[in-house]
């Protein structure tokens, strides 16, 4: 089934089109949800609610821009709503001049490595890092969605990157190749 057939079918509430949309987009969107939520169960709940909203509001998709991007935005919003309900997204106040150890960053990261690294960041850093670096949102949008200033969003991103870089280097992160060698 092509993307336009899926969209047309979902607009007519055709169950096989809805299933096709789920089959096509759920793996990517589940990856997005896992980045924002700490547990797989929470990520699945967010995914289900996000995809339900996407299917329910599919008539609002104008056809301009990527369909996957439109779904991703809905799923990210759902994840942020979930985080807000569960715990307040707080911004960290930290010294800008935090020392970052020198060293190289590996090229490859395994899925679990990404999740483990994100897990080590405080919730504010992790959310902004996810939104900006991995979901391609602008600081203006992040500020609007999280109810913070653009400058706070920028500063949080700088600190999140520094913290992530420090984590990678400090732990002498071996990457996938290193792990394989050790095994």
């Amino acid at each position: 089934m092509t993307e336009s057939e899926i969209i047309r079918g979902c607009k007519n509430q055709n169950r096989s089109a809805q299933k096709a949309l789920y089959d096509r987009f759920s793996p990517v969107m589940f990856g997005v949800c896992k980045r924002y939520c700490k547990s797989r169960e929470d990520a699945e709940d967010v995914l289900v609610n996000g995809l339900f909203k996407a299917i329910d509001n599919i008539h609002q998709y104008s056809g301009q821009g990527s369909f996957e991007g439109w779904i991703r935005r809905i799923v990210v919003n759902e994840a942020l709503m979930f985080l807000r309900k569960r715990q307040k997204i707080t911004v960290e106040i930290e010294d800008y001049h935090m020392e970052v150890p020198k060293g190289n960053i590996v090229d490859e990261l395994a899925a679990q490595d990404i999740l483990d690294l994100l897990e080590e960041l405080p919730i504010g850093y992790r959310t902004i890092f996810n939104m900006y670096v991995l979901d391609g949102m602008k600081h203006r949008e992040i500020a609007e969605v999280l109810g913070i200033s653009i400058n706070t969003s920028k500063s949080q991103l700088i600190l999140a990157r520094k913290r992530m870089q420090a984590l990678l280097i400090k732990k002498a992160y071996p990457g996938v190749e290193g792990r394989q060698k050790r095994l």
Partner: protein, 140 residues
């Protein structure tokens, strides 16, 4: 490429590794939600009765608000009025004048008689309708 850019690039490059098919339970949950939505009765379009009911409610609300505003105004007026005895001669004279005016109004105006104002000296008073004209004493 500095380390900051490299960091972003590494995450972007590897994020697809997180893609994974969710459990079967996820589709079952979603399907259940979709079923519930489709079995929910659709809201009927507005009927004439609902429009009339809404109009009646609006009129009722306006009546209630107006009444409440008047009651509040009356209460405020009553609170603002202070009743005391007339003390000076001037006050007593004025009080009598007011009472006389009130008595005059009660006697003549409530019977729907209208007083005829004096016009200019060079004009004639004409009555163009077959009405009875009563002479009443001058006010004051």
């Amino acid at each position: 490429m500095n380390n900051q850019d490299k960091l972003s690039a590494v995450f972007k490059k590897n994020q697809h590794k997180l893609n994974e098919r969710p459990s079967l339970k996820a589709w079952n949950k979603l399907e259940r939600k979709l079923d519930q939505k489709s079995s929910r009765p659709k809201r009927a379009p507005f009927s004439i009765y609902s429009i009339l009911a809404m109009a009646a409610a609006v009129v009722g609300l306006i009546f209630f608000v107006t009444t409440m505003v008047n009651v509040t105004k009356d209460r405020a007026y009553q609170k603002a009025v202070v009743i005391r005895e007339a003390t000076s001669t001037e006050e007593r004279f004025r009080t009598q004048q007011i009472l006389a005016e009130q008595a005059f109004r009660e006697k003549y105006q409530t019977k729907l008689y209208r007083t005829v104002e004096e016009g200019a000296a060079d004009k004639l008073l004409m009555v163009n309708k077959p009405v009875r004209v009563f002479l009443v004493p001058r006010r004051g």
